[in-house]
């Protein structure tokens, strides 16, 4: 096996292109190495992103949006002052990923690029209306996170492309967020279902202006529950409305049976937890300090 540690994004793309199909990027390695141990991947070459300083930066872009480098770790996301200020949902979500050791090494760039449906960051990023910045031999492009996941363990990344940054736009005023992770044992496990929501309220504090719902673990990929969002937007909230949004969200899911839970159970959990997450987000939004 070959191993290179380029010092710029361009060099990394060149290396990926040169090694071709058998090459894999290594970010924090926390998923990749586990998969390699299990024989799921046997790369001929690893291109390490650990030598590229710009991928480790957290910054505010000119338009005010938050830019998180692909090599920023879960632990850094939990504690970074800019993230805590501009996107606290991401810090909260990062704190629910796996265990301390994994959070210290694992990165959000790596996490997203694996396309694991039970991972935590995707739903929170969908709720936050985030995009990913991708650079490859053909140049740089940005796509919404919800379009990044194509199929089970498959993303929109083309050969030679690297997810370099996560871009989180300025969060609206009067919004509240929540990430609820459901597991059988504890949140060190992959989510059976993980619900990330952001609810923006109008001044009346009763009318939902805009809701965004991301769902991990209940389909082959993380999904955005657009129909459920439509049900909520422009309406005065009550328990029935939130329950209806839960039902609607479940309709959007096509879960798998696995050792953790049946598809049927996952559907039930989407219904319950979307409702609970929405309630939690609304409570946060209407709390005094949000205004």
């Amino acid at each position: 096996m070959e191993y290179v540690r380029p010092s710029s994004i361009k060099e990394a793309i060149d290396a990926l292109t040169e090694f071709g199909e058998g090459a894999k990027l290594i970010a924090g390695g926390q998923s990749l190495l586990a998969f390699m141990k299990q024989g799921m991947f046997e790369p001929d070459a690893l291109v390490s992103l650990s030598g590229i300083p710009e991928l480790k930066e957290v910054e505010i872009d000119e338009d005010g949006s938050l830019s998180i480098g692909a090599m920023v770790t879960h632990t850094e996301i939990m504690h970074h002052p800019l993230i805590l200020e501009h996107a606290p949902l991401l810090a909260e979500t990062a704190g629910k990923v796996a265990s301390t050791q994994i959070r210290n090494m694992g990165t959000w760039g790596g996490n997203l690029s694996h396309g694991e449906p039970g991972a935590d960051p995707p739903a929170a990023l969908i709720a936050s209306n985030a995009t990913v910045k991708i650079t490859g031999p053909e140049g740089t492009r940005a796509i919404p996170v919800e379009d990044f996941f194509v199929d089970y363990l498959t993303t929109d990344l083309n050969p030679g492309e690297i997810l370099t940054h996560i871009i989180v736009p300025v969060q609206p005023e009067n919004c509240g967020t929540a990430y609820i992770k459901h597991t059988i044992r504890d949140n060190g496990d992959l989510a059976i279902v993980g619900i990330g929501v952001r609810v923006t309220m109008d001044k009346s504090r009763t009318l939902i202006q805009d809701a965004r719902i991301g769902i991990n673990g209940a389909s082959l990929t993380t999904i955005r529950a657009k129909e459920a969002e439509k049900l909520l937007n422009g309406n005065v909230w009550d328990e029935n409305l939130l329950a209806a949004a839960g039902e609607q969200s479940a309709d959007a899911c096509e879960p798998l049976d696995d050792a953790e839970a049946s598809a049927e159970y996952r559907i039930k959990m989407v219904k319950v937890l979307v409702r609970r997450a929405l309630k939690q987000a609304i409570d946060a939004a209407v709390a005094e300090k949000a205004y």
């Binding site: 290594i26 926390q30 141990k37 265990s99 301390t100 992959l190």
Partner: protein, 926 residues
Amino acid sequence: MKQTVNLKVNGVERSIYVEPNRTLQDALRLDLEMTGTKKCCNDGYCGACTVMLDGVAAKSCLVLAVEAEGKEIETIEGLSHGTELDPLQKAFIDHGASQCGMCSPGMIMSAKALLRENPHPTKDQIKEAIKGNLCRCTGYIKILDAIASVADENEEKEKPKELSLAHSGKKWVGKSVPRVDGREKVTGKAPYVIDMVLPGMLYGEILRSDVPHARIVSIDTSEAEKYPGVLAVITGKDMVGHYGNFVKDETGLAVDKVRYVGDGVAAVAARTQEIATKALSLIDVEYEELPFVTDAEKAMQEGAPQIQEAERNIADHRRVVAGDVAKGFEKADFVYEDRFETTKQAHASMEPHVCIGYWGPSDRITLYDSNQAPFFMRAGISSLFKIPASKIRVNTPYIGGGFGGKSEVDAIHVCSLILSKKTGCSVKMALSRDEEFISSKTRHKEIIYMKTGVTKNGKITARQIRAIVDNGAYTSYGPAVANAQSMLGGAVYRIPNYRYDGYIVYTNTPVGGAFRGFGSPQFTFAAESQADMIAKRLGMDPLDFRRKNLTQPGDTAISGPVLTTNGAEQAMETAAKAIGFEEKRKNEAPYHGVGLAVATHFTSGKYIDMNADFAGATVKVNEDGSVSILSGQIEMGSGVDTALSQIAAEEFGVSIEDVEVAMNDSDSTPPDMGTHGSRSTTLGGQAVYMACQKAKKQIAEVAAVKLDCESEDIIFKDKQVVCKSDPSKAVGLAQLVADMLFDGGKHVIASAHFEAPCSLPDPETGVGDFAMAYSFGTHAASVEVDPETGKVKVLDFVAASDCGNVINPAGAEAQVQGGAVQGIGYSLYEDIKIREGQPINTRFGTYKIPTVMTVPPIRSYFVETNDPRGTYGSKGLAEMGLVPTAPAIANAIEDAIGVRIQSLPLTPEKILEALKEKKEKEKQES
């Protein structure tokens, strides 16, 4: 392509030359020979390999060595300096936080990283920091206490109470003496077979069947044999015969057909593990697939696929017939029959099964083995290979957890020895974590039909049990598991008429074996769930129902056990009071519930078709006044070395530091059936006690002459040999033994054999007093159930145990906590799931053992009884720790939400399903 990688480990620059896919874990363990960093899984889950990178915790198995270049790497070896320990390591010893020791280095490194960043963390922060570190022994509580004591100097943990032995004036027994193996374990220096490398050693790997049932048409090993670095390849043709304690149906590698996914078909010995693994992929096996059956009830039906040469796949039928159940049921006002189902639980010892076999040129065998019963191992190897036992040396250092799973000959032993004979080299074979789940033994899954007759006042008139014990594809301890549960099943309640029929049935699934509890957890889940069900049907209080029926001290149980001491009722009352059973039942918050369960378990026993149950020990008193113990017991985490040291220190009046327990080596340790069946302190301890008496007699005879008194008047106290009636006459123990040796022509050494006073069950009726003692206990749990997700949270937990007199209260508490947490796993999570014949959860990421986050507060009480048959009045304890857990939790769930789950584990899905049915039923009724 290999490259030079420069690592800075514990401040020292080291260079290694490795492939870039070398993990930091392997670099540390194999290239730098620093085995304090452990390797217990292959999916990055267990955390035993935790190190610090630039001051933060990381799993070294998920970091490439090349990526650790330029970072400060700190391992457990860097924490201590010579004999000077880090405060965390000291705290782990003081709190008894290290049992088998396999998880300790990783756990300590995680804690160290936390404390460096945050010297005064909260308990929740500590939990979060070690959430990614699995432990199978301790139940995490003592680990949390240890870390908290370093984090907060004011944290005063309530010390386990000193119990009756300490109060009786004993100096060492009855006291919470810190573990004698603590320093070795917290520093990562304790020897385990998994960490051993011998000169010229080869690595063996087994190719396993990926189909549940098939005839082997052909195996082509030619490509594997040609692969560079491969020295030998073997298949079923190389096997030497059948083995098995009850039914000789195992061969090591499958000879004619494979019977479950995981059955061995070929094995390879190669220069490195990577080469061996690669070679396996070059072996071509052609199978003719056969119909398979994974459900034991279906396997018993006519026309089911035939797995072994056994009619209706029934390997064995064990029974107890006592009284007349038909008459008993006639006397009953109500007869209830309920069906219960349990799961295949995995032992999940942190150290996998591992051995290093060497077949020497003189047909002398050496086997380094992670094994609970070396004497049995030697006998098994001897009989299989037809080599005299005296020519086989089984060497067992510390073992990283066993729980029953490492107590018999397995395919790795057979293959490593055959491969060694072929190559002339020693061959190490270790199971990967996947293999641990797929192809090591499990707790037997059972289907239990329990029929109980009761009067309207709640007195039991008869009980009949039909148990279908899922044997898996081969017979390990299935028949004995049925025996044990059949006899123990009659000992908790006074049952006038009793019948048990256990059918041990082959299926195309992983093999059931010996596992902590040995049949009792399954039976107790059925019996104690049903106790609450009956109480409810009769409108009785569940405690009253039990009070009416519990056996009492002095009873002879219907199934034979003589219950000389019996703390069942006292344990129940203690646990009920501690958990607040009666108040909680009356005034509970919605979705909160409380439940309890009572159980018994044996102290060793004669449940095998062999009229023997023994332990052996040799005690040597050295010329410096120290005492060496050679015992047939194994330190697998239970604390036996500490208990044996306490006994010897007590008897010779020396300090515990003066006692050394030697590592087990079958060339020198006396015959002993090993460490299983809750027997180590009670039986192993009794052998040590007896050997001490003999050695003391040797010394006393010389002392009597020297001190001019009767030898019966000699006592051993404060490192002195003293004339009791005239304490002015005394001589130092060291002085006396040195004089005996250098000026008296004598050395002091004595050996003793303890045969447990018990008997084989009657072959006709199955009735028998099969164990020397019976322990009792109650677990009580309070739970909260989320009615929408079905998730159960155990809020509070109490264990009250009657294990006779307690030799080491802290150690006993550790056993109970660890057992209860395994029991919580058994209750809520653990189940090797088989779909279409394939096991689907074969890693720690998918087979869920409890983590620190799932552990409730566990309060442990000891209801001491002074059992006349055991060392200092002790009885067995280790297994009792998990026997009643599952029904206690099931009963608490029923109390919380009004639904009864009759199959394990008690999953959220089952709970939601039951709630739905309940709602529908209520709707229909209204």
